[in-house]
Amino acid sequence: MANRIQDAFHLVEANESLKASTIQFLQSERQKRTGHTTYPARYRTIIAVCVMLFLITGINGYQFLQTPVSYVSIDINPSVELALNRFDRVVSAIAYNEDGESILAGLSVTGKKYTAAIDMIIESEAMSAYLTDQAELVFTVAANDGKKENQLRVGIANCAGGMKYGGQCFGGDIGIVTEAHEKGLSMGKYAAYLQLAEYDDTVTADDCRRMTMSEIRGLINRHKECGMDQETHGNRYRHGNHK
């Protein structure tokens, strides 16, 4: 009877483990052919979290290294300002006049230690034209705390650029940095302008922009010599470390 064959064959079934192993085999073949791995959901989540942490750490680390926390202005007539990160490395070098631009044009100081960057700038071919006997090389340092400021000033005093050319080093108020940049001046020149303005309220930031550091310092010294209100100056521009 045909029914007997049907009934007999009907008992033959594929077991579940055979089906499961076949499906597993097909999944692995699919992965080989499509060339990418399909991870279980929990692994995908872990991978995603790791990637996120990596990116966040990377971005924050980059921001950490690129955030300026202190500044060093170098003013003769060329006016240049170095922004430094927590490790005293240069994160940006900005020229605040044409002479400063010509100095920085051929130099790459970003990422360098500030003393090395200062030496490169001072020793550069373009700078030699400005380092005359009449010129006044002024370094101005601004930092978040006094300890860091002193540390930077000591570094500048001992670097070749500072020692060889008899630069003067002053401490500036970090609070004026933004103000100075808004006026288009380096922090050092702006501090000098503020000191001069205490003696002469007709002088403007634009006037100082056009003056060399030697000229501004000369005017300040002349006012001092004339004994005009010597008690009021010095709040924002702390003299020190003369060479």
Binding site: I5, A8, F9, L11, E13, T22, I23
Partner: protein, 161 residues
């Protein structure tokens, strides 16, 4: 390539059928596993479109039978006796069903496939001829002779069309 869902659905739907075809031809369960992987891999990679469910089923039968033949050739198992495969899973079958299966599986491969397709899957001689790529008259002959041999083995019981 067919989607994962489509392939899984096909495994669920046709696993028993392929298991029965394998039983007709193969010697043991590990061979069956190879055929399962082979057949469903071909199905997964098959880019053609099936007109309907019957078309899909006939395609799978043909691929399974060919895969079994190739497997046997590759292993030089021309004289395979599939009873071993049956004993692996038929221990719990009722006596009368086991007897029928043993009788059927003891026939040569050319009879088993056509008898299975005709009596279990319900295909006509014409349809089997299409699936197996043989002449319709050959299928009629195989069915007739297979029935006779089965009748002898089962003690003279008659199998109708």
């Amino acid at each position: 390539m067919r989607s994962e869902g489509e392939v899984t659905q096909a495994v669920e739907k046709y696993a028993n059928m392929i298991q029965r075809i394998c039983l007709c031809s193969l010697k043991n369960q590990s061979d069956t596993e190879d055929i399962f992987q082979n057949v469903f891999l071909k199905y997964m990679l098959h880019e053609g479109i099936f007109n309907d469910e019957e078309h899909e089923k006939a395609w799978l039968i043909r691929v399974t039978i060919n895969a079994c033949k190739d497997h046997l050739k590759s292993l030089f198992r021309h004289r395979t006796i599939p009873l071993e495969a049956l004993t692996e899973q038929a221990a719990e079958f009722p006596e009368e069903h086991r007897e029928v299966l043993e009788a059927l599986l003891s026939l040569s491969a050319k009879y088993k496939d056509v008898l299975y397709l005709h009596y279990y899957e319900g295909y006509s001689a014409s349809e089997i001829s299409g699936i197996l790529g043989k002449k319709e008259n050959t299928i009629y002959s195989l069915l007739s002779r297979g029935r006779g041999l089965l009748k002898d083995k089962l003690g003279g019981e008659e199998f109708g069309e």
